[in-house]
Amino acid sequence: ECGRISLSHPIVRLGDPVTASCVIGQNCNHLDPESEILWKLESELQPGGKQQRLPDGTRKSTITLPHLNHTQAHLSCCLLWGNSLQIIDQVELQAGYPPPTPYNLSCLMNLTINSFICQWEPGPEPHLPTNFTLKSIKSRDNCQTQEEPIQECVPEAGQSRCAIQRKHLLLYQSLVIWVQAENALGTSQSPKLCFHPMDLVKLEPPTLEALDPSPEVAPAQPDCLWFRWESWKPSLFMEQKCELRYQPQLREASWALVAPLPSCTLHHKLCGLLPATAYTLQMRCIRWPLPGHWSDWSPSLELNTAER
């Protein structure tokens, strides 16, 4: 081997110094033994290499780059051969920051794909390959005592979200969960959260359906509307409460709210409305009395009250 570079640290903080040394072996024999060892960072020559002859006849040059401001750069150890500069060895320098602390960790239990999906903010770019891992531990009494860990969830490259499969979960037990970030310059952890996966079920909105009032009833009650609803099928096993909001399609109309309502009804009559007016209705539901997340508002149902 002709020559070899060795580095104090291949990865440093951006702006920190880097020290490298290059040893030129004897077997570069067809070389002029007095030629100077030169350094290049990318394609620029770097002055300040200190050269010495070692007892075993090999030559060594050491250089310190005061501030490495490239996140990635090639450092070459070269020799002059005839009038051409020959690269003897080359290493890749990397500079960046320790991993920032991930924040805004939030999770939802998705009943459709039966996965517990968490997402977070990764924080500022550390300029170094950084691995994020979603870690969780089964626990009890609201996360005071911790039991065995759950298999780590490794997000797809570049993603700040991860889905823990149902088979790793105890839906009704407390779970301590956090995100760990790691790169060559250190590790960091997000704040730890504690919840029951089932308390974080995100419901899909209920489905509203118009009901044709029996002909003889309608004209008699021009201030009423008839409709029914059913909450999202996969969540029917959950006790829920729902909310209705409605507004006439008039300028500056505001929503009126009717709550709480049961999770489904085959027949509902809403009165006290303006006759001969178009109304927009929406509903949403939430697991109740056990904790849960409100579903989004359902798509609007447009209904018209009868003439007086």
Partner: protein
């Protein structure tokens, strides 16, 4: 045993060889571009010293020069050179993901071309008894040496193929 310049070589064989040389040169150019773009190693002339120490040699095509063309010896040298480059390309495997697919394709096309030449020599009854071996291959002890080796091998292969193209063109 100098034969008439092209009397013994079928035209389709020569046309295929010319096409294979052009394909390999195109693959080689892609490899050189990738090594240059990814690692800023764009000039083989600044790696000559390293090449000597790694033992990366050029394959001879002396019997293929227009002044002293010996068709059978030229085919032998062409085949041996291709076998050498097959070995060098194989030794470069694992250089890095960015060039892996290009390296594989180049290796396959060189192997294809070597088999084409060998089978033609067999059909002409001039194939050497044993298939030539690749000889000692360089060992690369660092990622840089493998990348620099890639630049040197690609550059040597391009000039080897340039010479081969000239003689095949002359024969066709």
């Amino acid at each position: 045993t100098p034969l008439g310049p092209a009397s013994s070589l079928p035209p389709s064989f020569l046309l295929q060889c010319l096409e294979q040389v052009r394909k390999i040169r195109a693959d080689g150019a892609v490899l050189q571009e990738r090594l240059c773009a990814t690692y800023k190693l764009c000039h083989p002339e600044e790696l000559v010293l390293l090449g000597h120490s790694l033992g990366i040699t050029q394959a001879p095509l002396s019997s293929c020069s227009s002044q002293a063309l010996e068709v059978v010896d030229c085919l032998h040298q062409l085949h041996s050179g291709l076998v050498l480059y097959q070995g060098l390309l194989q030794a470069l495997a694992g250089t890095s993901p960015e060039v892996a697919s290009t390296l594989d394709l180049l290796h396959l096309d060189v192997a294809d071309f070597a088999i084409n030449i060998w089978q033609q020599m067999e059909d002409m009854g001039v194939a050497p008894t044993g298939k030539p071996t690749q000889g000692p291959m360089p060992t690369f002890t660092s990622a840089f040496q493998r990348r620099a080796g890639g630049v040197l091998v690609a550059s040597n292969l391009q000039s080897f193929l340039e010479q081969a193209y000239r003689v095949l063109r002359y024969l066709a």
